[in-house]
């Protein structure tokens, strides 16, 4: 059963005391325990960490990676991988920026950009599901080609936008909360609903669990695969819009290596790279762990060279703890 945090809490609350239910919830959500521990440790070292401003700042910085990682979760649940998200982000960002710069209505520019992202993702999916190319290779090609296409399209120069309503998507606050955070929260709810409540979500888990069984059950594995890459492309485009809006320009090198943070968030969230197991709530937590870590290392004045090493070490530690739990079961 593709479980998710909320239905788990509902179940556990029904058959145990409140304390027990909390314990069981934490046991099922080890990444959440990790996040809480990490935050506790960081707040000991840095008094500026646990302030509303800083926490909102973390959420805002995390929202882009979280959105990409949610799309990535769909792909990884089918035992695939999408390395092209950073390039999709850059290309769609550039297209969006040029539309906005040409004074296109946001009602046109934004849907067009999202559709473009979904189409680019679907193209990856077609190469994988119909062409039979390994997801790693197919999306590696997508990553390279789209990066090149972005450089061609932008002529290697940033495209600047001069539009306040567009900037608001990345920079404005509503009820004191940054807009990107609200967008990420909305995306999370939609993804959660799709994966846990919709037929398509079941099929995603089924394809990752066993493709052959899924096919024999009369389900089109091809369509499911194309759809998950389209979702990933759509989410990368959404992230591209937010990033471009916030910077008021599209950088041709934007999103470089973003796929790695997204994959790390998914894995930290407990989703199996072998497919079929995992859930979107974990991905959100995984993205937050990475966000808190980045923020903490900045607050503690760790040089950016050491930051990468520290980040890698924490990810390795988390995954080792998780895989130990699995083999001992």
């Amino acid at each position: 059963m593709p479980s998710n945090a909320t239905s788990r809490t509902a179940e556990t609350a029904a058959n145990g005391g409140a304390g027990k239910a909390v314990l069981r919830f934490l046991a099922a959500n080890k990444s959440l325990v990790g996040l809480i521990l990490l935050m506790a440790v960081v707040s000991l070292f840095s008094p500026n960490f646990l302030t509303v401003d800083n926490l909102l700042n973390i959420l805002r910085q995390t929202s882009i990676n979280a959105i990409i990682a949610m799309g990535m979760t769909f792909v990884i649940l089918t035992a695939g991988i999408d390395l092209s998200v950073g390039s999709v982000l850059a290309f769609t960002g550039a297209v969006c920026a040029s539309l906005v710069a040409a004074d296109a209505s946001l009602w046109v520019a934004l849907p067009a950009t999202l559709a473009l992202g979904a189409a680019l993702g679907a193209a990856n999916g077609v190469v994988i599901a119909i062409g039979g190319v390994q997801p790693f290779i197919a999306t590696l090609v997508g990553m390279t080609v789209l990066r090149g296409a972005t450089l061609v399209y932008t002529d290697g120069r940033p495209i600047t936008t001069m539009s306040d309503p567009f900037w608001a998507i990345g920079g404005e606050y509503v009820f004191g909360i940054p807009v990107p955070v609200l967008i990420a929260a909305f995306a999370f709810i939609v993804c959660w609903f799709v994966l846990s409540q919709m037929r398509f979500g079941r099929y995603v888990y089924a394809v990752g669990g066993n493709e052959q069984v899924t096919r024999l059950a009369g389900i089109s594995v091809t369509r499911v695969k194309i759809a998950v890459y389209a979702v990933s492309g759509l989410m990368a485009a959404l992230a591209g819009i937010i990033l471009t809006a916030r910077l008021e320009s599209a950088q041709p090198t934007a999103g470089t290596a973003y796929e790695l943070d997204a994959i790390a968030a998914v894995v930290l969230g407990g989703t199996s790279l072998m497919g079929g197991r995992g859930y979107i709530f974990g991905t959100l937590i995984g993205a937050l762990i990475i966000g808190v870590l980045n923020n903490a290392l900045n607050l503690m004045d760790v040089s950016s060279y050491y930051q990468m090493i520290a980040k890698g070490a924490v990810i390795l530690l988390a995954v080792l703890v998780d895989s130990r739990g699995k083999t001992n079961r």
């Binding site: 919709m198 037929r199 066993n210 069984v213 024999l216 009369g218 079929g276």
Partner: protein, 495 residues
């Protein structure tokens, strides 16, 4: 009797809160074949995993090998001590050659430490010759061989260890009759050499034909041990299931209805020009040797394999069959022969698996209707008597028989008109088998058309209203119930 070569006393094993084995005694003598029998979930495989160092037993038990207390912590230690096991699932690497598989991890070396290929191939050829598999080239990649040959390679690997105790877990499941006979000869010669054999099988006839002693496990406890000659088949079944089973093959009589399925001149991979019809309320049995094309025919009718020429009509309407999707839509359900590989999604729950193919019916638009899903799954769990704590428990925690029931329920939830059952009782124990037979009769009475593909001859004769025989992808015989005999079918099957 002399002292046993290998003996276990008071062995217990619990996984978490589940007790799988309780105070089990088990002993094998050199030069004898010991059958280990019991229903699925009785603890046979767990016991053998303890013997071979895959699991540690709980505290208190004792294992003695050649009189010395021993405890193996890894399969390698057991192997080095002289205990070899042939697992039920093939543990082979399809990309490597036959010889490499046989000597995996124990490759003969040259003086310089590199692999001594010529010695390895020569020794592999010798082992294969002993198993009368001279046609198999030691250098050929294993993946290209049939399942039966792969099983023989697995057996050759066990022989190569020159072990004193050889455990065989359902070795004949994937073998043809000819290969089974060869295996039996090899087992008898191993016995004459003074090896001890532990033979696990669901096929009672094999136990009476081959084994000297038998130990019966039931619910994790040893319930009987003694010589085979002292038992009848009925005794053995009684020990296994703990109750008398009469009427092992129930058969419901019901008048056949209109023609449900018509297959005309079907040609597909492994199927050559097959035509037949099947009616509502009829069980049509398909007999044939391994490789006769039964599974291939089933998959072609369902749309899982490509139908090259020919037509399939359901209720008089031709069905386009490009994928299993088309089969499901036309009202055809297929219960696969290999539940592990393509029947169920193992770590997922009973609910997830049962509902998978029927989500279209159990949803409102694109959203799954949890209430409708729960009630449908609960209904089928009850109707099929699936033994499980609840519908959210993962299917890989269920016994083989219960998994098969879930697999069957999954297909029936799509509300088919035609059900194709491919080896529905393979690896299913005696008690659960009968429950599946009762279900097949129930389906028939509900007006479904059942195609039963089976290698189990008594099952086929007991349940079918009509039996069609396949040989080399062609229909070579047709028998009505009553006329069909094991000999008559065999004669057509080898035609």
């Amino acid at each position: 009797m002399t002292a046993p070569l290998l003996s276990l006393h008071g062995i217990g094993k619990t996984f978490g809160s589940v007790t799988v084995l309780r105070d089990v005694d088990f002993a094998v003598q050199a030069g004898r074949v010991m059958a280990l029998v019991g229903e699925n979930g009785a603890g046979k495989s767990t016991l053998m995993k303890i013997v071979t160092g895959i699991h540690d037993p709980d505290k208190g038990g004792e294992i003695r090998f050649k009189g010395q207390p021993v405890r193996f912590h890894t399969p390698r230690q057991a192997m080095d001590a002289g205990i070899a096991i042939i697992h039920q699932e093939l543990n082979l690497l399809p990309g490597l050659s036959v010889a490499e598989n046989i000597f995996l991890g124990r490759e003969p070396r040259t003086r310089f430490g590199s692999i001594d290929w010529s010695t390895m191939k020569a020794r592999a050829a010798g082992l294969l010759a002993r198993l009368k598999q001279d046609h198999v080239s030691p250098g050929a990649p294993l993946g290209r061989m049939g399942v039966g040959t792969q099983q023989m390679v697995e057996i050759a690997r066990a022989l190569s260890l020159d072990a004193e105790v050889i455990i065989m877990d359902e070795p004949t499941d994937a073998l043809t009759d000819v290969e089974t006979r060869i295996l039996f000869e090899v087992i008898r010669s191993l016995k004459a050499e003074g090896k001890a054999i532990v033979y696990i099988s669901h096929r009672l006839s094999e136990i009476f034909a081959l084994c000297d002693d038998v130990t019966v496990l039931r619910d994790g406890q040893m319930v009987h041990t003694g010589t085979v000659a002292d038992l009848t088949e009925a005794d053995l079944i009684r020990h296994m299931v703990g109750r008398e089973i009469t009427d092992q093959y129930p058969h419901a009589k019901c008048p056949p209805g209109k023609v449900r399925l018509e297959v005309k001149n079907a040609v597909a991979d492994g199927v050559e020009d097959v035509s037949f019809t099947a009616r509502a309320g009829e069980v049509v049995g398909f007999a044939g040797l391994m490789g006769a094309g039964r599974t291939e025919l089933a998959r072609a009718i369902y749309g899982a394999n490509r139908l090259q020429t020919g037509t399939v009509e359901v209720d008089g309407v031709p069905v386009p069959l490009k994928s299993p999707r088309d089969g499901v839509r036309a009202g055809i359900a297929y219960v696969t022969e290999d539940r592990k590989a393509d029947g169920l999604i193992q770590p997922h729950s009973i609910r997830f698996n049962m509902a998978l193919g029927a989500l279209g019916r159990l949803s409102r638009g694109p959203v799954v209707d949890r209430r409708r899903e729960t009630s449908a799954v609960a209904e089928y769990m009850k109707a099929f008597a699936v033994k499980a704590p609840d519908m959210d428990c993962p299917v890989n925690t269920l016994s083989g028989g219960n998994q098969q029931k879930v697999s069957l329920a999954k297909s029936l939830l799509t509300q088919p008109k035609i059900v194709i059952l491919d080896e529905p009782t393979r690896g299913v124990d005696v008690g659960a088998r009968r429950e599946i037979y009762v279900l097949i009769n129930k389906l028939k009475e509900q007006g479904l058309c059942v195609l039963l593909m089976s290698s189990d001859m008594p099952e086929l004769l007991g349940l079918s209203d009509r039996i069609l025989v396949l040989s080399h992808g062609r229909l070579t015989g047709s028998f009505d119930r009553g006329q069909a005999t094991q000999e008559g079918i065999m004669e057509r099957a080898v035609a």
